[in-house]
């Protein structure tokens, strides 16, 4: 048997039982590798359950810094008998299987092409601890100790991390360190340390940070000046509002009075969440909600009101697999169309597509500016993969000279000076009209906000021409939005490429890797990462400049492709979909294989291979 040999380039997968306390031990494992300067990318694969169902934690170790999911596992830490069969199958040939050998298993439960590493974890714990919960929790730390020995992880880094975790709780520190050492010592004495896969200290992490997308999104809302947050619990978005609350306790408590410079309300449902956001924004506060697909479905009537009455609203949609309840704890990008055109009647909404936690921070702060500038709902479209996994990303940055863009608002002095006010009167020809906050001026600037048709002075009307005038202005405003939303990111191949790929959001990390692999194979592809809807003209021009464009998405129906065809008046045959939607994050392997196959069907041969044939 040829064992897998790799330094800083492998995947470890932990198969655990939900609620067994494995999450913090597994994070400790991932972070200790990161502290050795080696990029890691962990992913939680968990059920919609609190206790008892299977859960996995997949850690990709990549010296090259690829952060997408690779697929397969080189080392399986199989701690869940429920999923044993499936977990064993998933190991790459020549890989390793670490398991709790307290209870003997028949030989047909194993694979001949896999190195089996048995450690009697339960036995060790039962012998060492009397308390049932301790036996469970320390078992996790013990296996981290064993893995450190097997993979040559610097135990000092693990100790340091435990020290940071239990700072001020020294009573807990010592037994954790003891458990860690117990695992390490057992592995050294009884298992073939080190394995063919090892970690070697490197310098590839740099000053990057390790952060969950939802946490970064929440901080973006703090920096962007949100003062009202109304939300209803829904996986995978709840931790956005919860993190916002934590950040606000730190950053939004007035030091002098102890009072809060923020209002956070957990509402009775998503209708109330968006209603409060709209009410607050109408009244001049920056407001947001965080939700997922089912929540957006409930909000759509209100979203139409905000579009038509022109009220700012920021909606963070941490997408999950639909339709209906779908797979609540699995990732997808399947709400593109439902958000772009949310609500009845002719509506279009601004969407932003962050690729990772860092961009989620920036685009959430930007969304608050955009919503005020454009006086319309703005969606921040993340997903479970970004939101609920810790990801290595560039440090967050803030320009202290940045002022909030509150958009076109007439002040008391403007009104006093006699500035002409028509709530829906387009004086600058950009489709955006001036508004006033309630209570601004005793005599001027009041108006009636409504979801019914109105004239330029906000007076109710069912006059066809006034209605059309207003609807056309809203289209003009949507054109204006193109000037404000983030530009796409273009990565041109070093060679002339006739084919191209368009992608967005959490697909980016897998795409980066797939592009590098395809390039190495001699396949020239230009790439464009869409960051916003409405699409700038440059997105449509990019499509038109290539013979054929692949649109890579994590949904069944190719929703962004539909949007491109529809909004860019693109010939559908010029765009084909590469779709991954089983609820797991898309991988570079998948993208590469799909594109290779499609290109070979087009009869496109890699340039390098052609050159080699000619030699």
């Amino acid at each position: 048997m040829k064992k897998i040999q790799a330094v800083n380039d492998f995947v470890v997968k932990f198969a655990n039982v939900n609620g067994s306390g494995s999450a913090s031990a597994n994070t400790l494992f991932a972070k200790s590798i990161m502290r050795m300067g080696v990029p890691v990318s962990p992913r939680n694969i968990f059920p919609s359950n609190i206790q008892g169902l299977p859960t996995w934690y997949e850690v990709r170790v990549s010296e090259k810094g690829w952060l997408g999911r690779r697929g397969g596992a080189d080392l399986m830490v199989a701690m869940n008998p429920q999923t044993w069969e499936k977990d064993v199958v998933e190991i790459e040939p020549g890989g390793y299987l670490f398991y709790d050998s307290s209870k003997p298993l028949p030989s047909d439960k194993f694979r001949a092409d896999v190195t089996v590493l048995g450690m009697p974890l339960t036995e060790i714990c039962n012998a060492t601890y009397t308390d049932a919960r301790q036996r469970q929790l320390f078992k996790n730390i013990i296996y981290v100790g064993a893995l450190a020995a097997l993979l040559e992880i610097d135990i000092a880094e693990v100790e340091k991390l435990i020290g940071e975790q239990y700072k001020g709780k020294e009573k807990l520190l010592e037994p954790n360190i003891r458990a860690l050492h117990m695992g390490r010592d057992y592995a050294r004495a009884h298992l073939p340390c080190p394995l063919g896969i090892t970690v070697r200290r490197s310098d590839r992490v740099g000053d990057r940070i390790f952060i969950e997308g939802n946490n970064a999104t929440a901080l973006g809302a703090v920096y962007g000046g949100a003062t009202v947050c109304a939300w209803y619990p829904i996986t995978p978005s709840s931790s956005v509002a919860e993190a916002f609350g934590r950040h606000c306790r730190k950053f939004r408590t007035d030091p002098a009075t102890g009072r809060n410079n923020v209002a956070i309300v957990q509402t009775e449902d998503e209708l109330a969440s968006i209603g409060m956001v709209i009410g607050a924004a109408w009244n001049g506060a920056r407001a947001f909600t965080a939700t997922s697909g089912p929540g957006v479905s409930l909000m759509t009537e209100f979203i139409g009101l905000a579009y038509f009455a022109e009220i700012p609203a920021v909606i963070v949609n941490v997408q999950r697999a639909g339709p209906s309840t779908g797979m609540p704890t699995r990732t997808q990008q399947a709400d593109i169309l439902s958000c772009a055109y949310a609500s009845h009647g002719d509506t279009k909404h601004v969407l932003l597509f962050p690729e990772d936690a860092r961009e989620a921070f920036h685009l959430t702060a930007d969304a608050l500016d955009l919503a005020d500038r454009l006086q319309t709902p703005v969606f921040v479209m993340t997903d479970l993969d970004i939101g609920m996994n810790e990801r290595l990303c560039e440090p967050l940055a803030w320009d202290d000279s940045r002022a909030y863009d509150r958009g076109k608002v007439l002040t008391h002095d403007d009104l006093e000076a006699g500035k002409r006010f028509g709530r829906y009167l387009d004086v600058d020809d950009d489709g955006i009209t001036y508004r006033t906050y309630p209570g601004t001026h005793p005599k001027r600037g009041s108006f009636f906000t409504r979801g019914t048709s109105r004239d330029r002075y906000a007076r109710y009307t069912e006059e066809g021409s006034a209605y059309v005038d207003n609807m056309q202005r809203l289209l003009r405003k949507f054109e204006t939005a193109k000037l404000y939303v983030p530009e796409p990111v273009v990565k041109d191949s070093p060679r002339t490429a006739h084919h191209a790929v368009i992608y967005y959001g959490s697909t980016a990390c897998a795409m980066d890797e797939a592009l590098a692999e395809l390039e190495a194979e001699g396949i020239a592809l230009d790439a464009l990462r869409v960051r916003a809807f409405p699409f700038q003209d440059s997105v449509i021009e990019f499509v038109n400049a290539h013979d054929h464009v692949f649109v890579v998405e994590q949904n069944r129906d190719g929703q962004l492709r539909t949007l491109l065809v529809n909004e860019g008046a693109i010939d559908p045959s010029r765009l084909s979909s590469v779709l991954h939607y089983d609820g797991t994050p898309i991988t570079a392997r998948f993208i590469r294989q799909e594109i290779e196959e499609r290109l070979s069907a087009f009869n496109v041969r890699p340039i390098r291979r052609t050159a080699a044939a000619g030699e």
Partner: protein, 351 residues
């Protein structure tokens, strides 16, 4: 007739309030509701209440849902910002607005379909959160704009104009408001301005969730024999438990009342609610006995009106959330943005 334009000129002898405003300064555009609609009387009562309290019109935000009642905010206070939102969702929009600026006075106008049918959930949660607002339901037991269907407050056994009998139990929003923690609960009749105006004044000065259920007959679809929301029925079954005076500047009681018949409640802002008892055994300081009284009289077919309950030490959602005194919509980057140095620290904690 409501469709006739009102003359633009003010009568020179119209009385002015402490701000120098006449009642005309609190009016809105001409009502487009049916002639004789109870809702127009409520609009008039709101105008009267705001004028008497000398509220600055632009300091009021008036919000509503959808339906005949929800149209009325255009017919009063045209110097106020108004928001005609979506059906049954006024409470959430108003809550958000209130969070953004605690300094304005929030007036929510809704109907029985808007609040008891489609919007029952939002009504309930606004009450239990203690949003500082005046919540008026213009209750006619019927859908007017869609021509005469029963709403959820229609009494069981009452008859529609076409003769259909309502078989569902009616919802009493005042009872619900009491149960859900509203700190000021009243009921009145659109035809009794003397009772309604002070009730609205008390609600506007109340520093918490104030709810008033106003029975307001629909002349087009629910004013017939067999209806329990007709002018005749309500006049014959209206059982007022007290009379309220709202006194913004406290004066001694000069009129002679029998002992125990007058109750005074001093609110946070110093205003005094002076209650003259009409029913000897009615206690408006007890939530539980209020509920019991109202329901036992309902069992006898009577509609109990008046100030049903008031909690003098009411607080609101802002107190629960411990929000700053400065309206949130007035905070700037300085208070809101932690800046790059804090971000550097945050980054460092994630390495």
């Amino acid at each position: 007739m409501t469709y006739l334009a009102k003359p633009k000129l003010h009568h020179p002898d119209l009385p002015a309030n402490a701000l120098g405003f006449t009642r005309r300064d609190y009016e809105g555009t001409i009502s487009t509701l049916c002639a004789g609609c109870g809702h127009d009387s409520i609009s008039a009562a709101i105008i009267q209440a705001c004028w008497e309290l000398a509220i600055e019109p632009h300091k009021v935000a008036k919000l509503s849902g959808i339906g005949c009642s929800s149209k009325t905010p255009t017919y009063f206070l045209d110097k106020s910002h108004g928001f005609n939102s979506v059906h049954g969702r006024m409470p959430s929009v108003l809550t958000g607005a209130n969070l953004a600026n605690r300094d304005l006075i929030y007036l929510g106008v809704s109907g029985d379909g808007d609040s008891a049918s489609i919007g029952l959930g939002q009504f309930a949660h606004a009450m239990r959160r203690g949003v500082n607002m005046t919540y008026i339901v213009e209750n006619n037991g019927v859908y007017g704009l869609t021509k005469g269907q029963f709403s959820a407050t229609a009494d069981r056994g009452s008859k529609s104009k076409r003769g259909a009998v309502n078989t569902d139990e009616g919802i009493d929003l005042a009872i619900l408001a009491l149960q859900l923690g509203a700190t000021y609960v009243g009921r009145s009749f659109s035809g009794d301005k003397a009772q309604l105006v002070p009730l609205i004044k008390g609600a506007l000065t109340h520093p918490g969730a104030a709810f008033i259920d106003v029975v307001s007959p629909c002349v087009a679809f629910n004013n017939h024999e067999g209806s329990t929301r007709s002018y005749d029925y309500v006049r014959n079954h209206n059982e007022a438990v007290n009379r309220l005076d709202v006194i913004t500047v406290h004066r001694e009681i000069t009129t002679d009342y029998p002992p125990g018949s007058v109750q005074e409640v001093t609110q946070h802002d110093g205003s005094v609610l002076r209650l003259r008892k009409l029913a000897d055994d009615y206690d408006s300081s007890s939530r539980i006995s209020a509920m019991s009284y109202v329901q036992s009289r309902y069992a006898h077919g009577e509609i109990v009106t008046g100030l049903l309950y008031v909690e003098p030490d009411a607080t609101d959602l802002h107190a629960s959330l411990n929000t700053t005194e400065v309206p949130l919509n007035q905070l700037s980057e300085k208070e809101l943005c932690p800046g790059s140095a804090a971000l550097e620290k945050f980054n460092a904690s994630l390495r």
